[in-house]
Symmetry: C2
Subunit: 145 residues, 2 copies
């Protein structure tokens, strides 16, 4: 990232703090050879991995289990032209261990309504990047990373 592009890179601790600020993020993956994205609610586990809860029969699970995906959260203010975004990149895996599933049933994300076949998917934070845009004077929409 260029130093004068208006974006300030965020360090790991700032990224992790911001990941707890919003309830919904976006899983970015490949489906039928095309890039695609799905917004989902999520939580952070104690090892900083991203946890989703979804249907075992979903297209999402079939597409991402075992694959490297990106998970993005952001927040922007159009009036101030300010905001931030954080991207977690890492392998997504379905949680299959019964004890781990039981733990996450107590402490993990809850879907926004009940599902009969909910499973947890973990995204490892292998790469964690973020950037913040200060308002007003800076350029938004330029990727100079």
């Amino acid at each position: 990232m260029q130093e004068n592009d208006g974006f300030r890179p965020l360090d790991r601790q700032e990224c992790l703090r911001l990941l707890t600020k919003v309830p919904v993020g976006r899983v970015v993956y490949t489906r039928q050879a095309l890039p695609t994205v799905l917004p989902v609610n999520f939580s952070l586990d104690t090892d900083s991995s991203v946890l989703l809860c979804t249907s075992a029969a979903s297209d999402l699970v079939r597409a991402i289990d075992g694959a490297v995906v990106a998970f993005e959260v952001d927040e922007f203010d159009a009036v101030d032209r300010s905001g931030w975004s954080v991207i977690v990149t890492g392998r997504a895996t379905v949680v299959t261990d019964p004890a781990e599933h039981a733990r996450l049933t107590r402490t993990g994300p809850r879907p926004w309504a009940a599902t009969h076949d909910g499973i947890f998917v973990r995204i490892e934070p292998e790469i964690l990047t973020g950037r913040q845009l200060a308002g007003g004077r800076t350029l938004y929409g330029v990727d100079a990373s």
Copy 2:
């Protein structure tokens, strides 16, 4: 999409209407063989294509010019557990025609601050999909499409 998954599919007109409601969307693409995403401000052109304005020298332009990308917008309410998302999938191309560039300089998206080498990128709406989640009774986080 299953009819009972809590999501209502949106028709083309609803998708286009919602695309005008938010100033920032997310370009989803592949960089160095990994899925990635970049939030950008945008506008809709008169032919319903998505227009971005970014730096000619940016990584984004190098990665997406000529490639099929997804462009996503959404809005969610964590209290109501309601919201919607719209995804445009299509080829991204840098606008090179001088007359078209001049027109977009007048009518297209403006970056959130000045750039010295701004160019426009057009994403064709080859596939336009959207879905809406009603609040309360429905499941969020399940992709049953």
